[in-house]
């Protein structure tokens, strides 16, 4: 496929690896923010190709992984109610809540449906006028505008039986939280290319100045990721900071203005709890007043019950890059994708799932 195959070219990969290897003089820790990048790094075995001085730390960019347990429990509560159709993306269905997960609820008779797009949920609501249709909306800035589009469209169509359980998260406040931890080990970030396709690079300028570290906007194919690493190393070795866009075929400095405008119209940032990381100010999205009637939590008076988190899952340490999946004693033994203890083992973007899938040894090492 065009714009994919060229970026998996072996010759370019080898060339970039040689450039990186010859340009590195000491150890550097680079965090790739997005779980999609983590999976590509594992899939193409980039860890083995890179010189040992470069340590890649896997970041919290897995929306399913950081969705708080309280909200999964709320979704399960909704799915157990009569006359409700709950929809979400496939990844969300298998994440364990306090005592169940959505897929088990579906097996037990709950009307839970996997959708490709939030817009599909509108059609479902239109064709099921006797039921309430709730979309469990997870995702970063990449996904939130499509949900904003669905909410605005529902208002336009005067669709009364549609609502959203909003669980969106924003990347820059989380990066700020990671960097403000005194024990962080991060020397540079590879920023999530598709988040920046919407938001542009402006917000990262403030972060690079505040913490004087390089931030390189990076794509998802092996050549893209190596180009991002190569640029980060070049800046680190030259003791420079700043934002560099290594994904300029997709990301423009201002992002997608129309999508940003829609996001701004429908949502307002607010405090949000990240599973494993705690509450982070302004890192989540809430529906603005004119759209609050579409808030499922409000419509169904959902309460925050105290959740039960399995004590043997160290997802928080994994998501903040402080531990690697293989350092968890449950990895590959009591915790597998078939029977996960925590979200990073479930999601197609979770670091544990990536290690399990591509390095399925007892140690989880390549």
């Amino acid at each position: 496929m065009k714009y994919i195959d060229e970026y998996r070219d072996r010759e370019l990969v080898e060339k970039l690896v040689r450039k990186i290897t010859s340009g590195v003089s000491r150890e550097w820790n680079i965090m790739e923010v997005c779980g999609g990048q983590t999976h590509a790094i594992m899939k193409y075995n980039l860890l083995q190709l890179l010189p040992p001085e470069i340590k890649l730390i896997h970041g919290p960019g897995c929306p399913v992984c950081v969705t708080p347990l309280e909200q999964i429990d709320q979704a399960i509560h909704l799915a157990r109610m009569d006359r409700i159709i709950l929809t979400s993306f496939g990844d969300m269905l298998r994440v364990p809540g306090s005592e169940s997960d959505l897929l088990s609820e579906k097996a037990a008779g709950g009307d839970i449906r996997m959708v490709y797009s939030p817009l599909d949920t509108l059609e479902l609501a239109t064709s099921n006028p006797g039921k309430e249709v709730v979309f469990f909306a997870v995702g970063f800035e990449t996904t939130a505008p499509a949900v904003a589009m669905a909410v605005r469209e529902a208002q336009k169509r005067n669709l009364k039986n549609f609502s959203v359980l909003v669980s969106h998260v924003l990347v820059p406040p989380a990066l700020d939280a990671l960097l403000s931890a005194p024990d962080h080990q991060i020397d540079a970030f590879l920023a999530a290319g598709h988040v920046c396709a919407i938001m542009g690079t402006e917000e990262y300028e403030a972060l690079t100045e505040k913490y004087t570290l390089p931030i390189v906007v990076t794509g998802f194919e092996p050549v893209d990721i190596l180009l991002g690493i190569s640029q980060a190393i070049e800046m680190l070795e030259a003791q420079k900071h700043g934002v560099y866009n290594a994904y300029s075929r997709i990301v423009k400095p201002l992002g997608n203005l129309k999508a940003k405008q829609l996001l701004e119209e429908v949502f307002v940032p607010g405090e949000r709890t990240w599973r494993g990381m705690g509450a982070i100010p302004n890192s989540g999205l809430k529906l603005r007043d004119p759209y609050r009637s579409y808030d499922a939590a409000r419509r169904f008076r959902l309460k925050n019950k105290k959740p039960y988190e399995a004590g043997s899952c160290m997802a928080g340490l994994i998501l903040t890059g402080k531990k690697r999946p293989a350092e968890c004693f449950s990895f590959g033994t009591t915790c597998t994708p078939e029977s996960p203890l925590g979200a990073p083992m479930v999601s197609s973007e979770g670091a544990c799932a990536a290690y399990y899938r591509y390095y399925r040894t007892s140690t989880g090492q390549p």
């Binding site: 340009g23 960019g61 797009s117 817009l119 300029s248 997608n256």
Partner: protein, 77 residues
């Protein structure tokens, strides 16, 4: 979750000016994608699609420039 795929626009329907749609080919799959946030796309252009919406147009010139630069990049001693 942020998975987005590049595809080629086959046809465009802007009969509803507030909800522009395009039929887009991804390898052997064809899907209808909202192009509401992109004003300047035409048939034959590539867009990056995510959950049924086009996030951005692939900048062909930019892509070519970067790839050419990488291919021509000299080896370092």
């Amino acid at each position: 979750m942020c998975l987005a795929v590049p595809g080629k626009i086959l046809t465009i329907d802007r009969s509803n000016p507030e909800a522009g749609m395009a039929r887009v080919q991804f390898g052997t799959t064809i899907r209808d994608i909202s192009i509401q946030w992109l004003d300047d796309v035409q048939v034959g252009d590539y867009i990056l699609a995510h959950v049924g919406t086009a996030l951005s147009k692939v900048d062909e010139e930019d892509a070519k420039f970067t790839l050419d630069a990488l291919r021509e990049m000299g080896e370092i001693d």
